[in-house]
């Protein structure tokens, strides 16, 4: 089970700021996102390409998850 943190527009859209997704060990971020879309119908309007972070750093969809990772899906950044 992986807990995904959601922020700002995406938290509002999905209606919560964390979601738990069941994935098999060794899954990639890309696979986690596919499961997220399958298991959370409210995520359907999210764009096809999503910015993700693991353990407070940006990662690519090919990133392989480790037990205990902190995963986040980030809406388009708008600092400054």
């Amino acid at each position: 089970m992986v807990t995904i943190r959601l922020f700002a527009a995406y938290a509002e859209l999905v209606g919560c700021d964390t979601v738990d997704i069941a994935v098999s060990a060794g899954a990639t971020i890309g696979e986690l996102l596919s499961e997220f879309r399958r298991q959370v119908p409210a995520a359907a309007p999210l764009p096809s390409r999503l910015l993700c972070a693991v353990n407070l750093a940006h990662v690519l969809p090919s990133h392989v998850l480790q037990p205990g990772d902190e995963v986040a899906i980030l809406p388009p950044l708008a600092g400054g």
């Binding site: 922020f7 407070l56 750093a57 986040a72 388009p76 950044l77 600092g79 400054g80």
Partner: protein
């Protein structure tokens, strides 16, 4: 030291953090809440962040600039509700000379906009409310 703050920003305390007798060139950038976006009048902005990651990413952005140029960088971003005219972000780069100061200052604000997980929601004078997506705007409006 924290890169994020919920309090109003002023330049002097940050300037004091980077000043030193051998740093003779100091460049600064202030990002201020603008009164309009895409032709709509803006009343205020609400900034929020993935705080832990934003702190970590700011630290990386600053470290990269300080590794590339002989400068000391000061960086603060405000979160919470800001009225038009209030300062949202300050970047200061202090070096021996102006070249490295200007280059580092520009690099840090551009990297912050590209990489640091901060979001803003605009409250418009017409009552509307929108999350800002800089990718959906002309580059100079981000």
């Amino acid at each position: 030291m924290s890169y994020l703050t919920d309090s109003p920003l002023t330049i002097e305390p940050l300037l004091d953090e980077v000043r030193s007798p051998e740093r003779g060139g100091i460049a600064s950038f202030l990002g201020v809440v603008r009164s309009e976006l895409g032709g709509r009048a803006v009343l205020r902005l609400e900034y929020s962040a993935y705080r832990e990651m934003a702190e970590a990413e700011c630290a990386r952005v600053v470290a990269e600039a300080e590794a590339r140029w002989p400068v000391k960088v000061g960086l603060r971003h405000r979160l919470g509700t800001l009225e038009v005219g209030e300062t949202a972000v300050i970047v200061i780069a202090a070096g021996g000379h102006r070249d490295e100061a200007f280059l580092a200052c520009r690099q840090v604000i551009e990297a912050l906009k590209r990489r640091v997980p901060i979001w803003k929601r605009e409250h418009y004078a017409d009552g509307g409310l929108d999350w800002v997506d800089p990718g959906a705007l002309a580059p100079e409006q981000g």
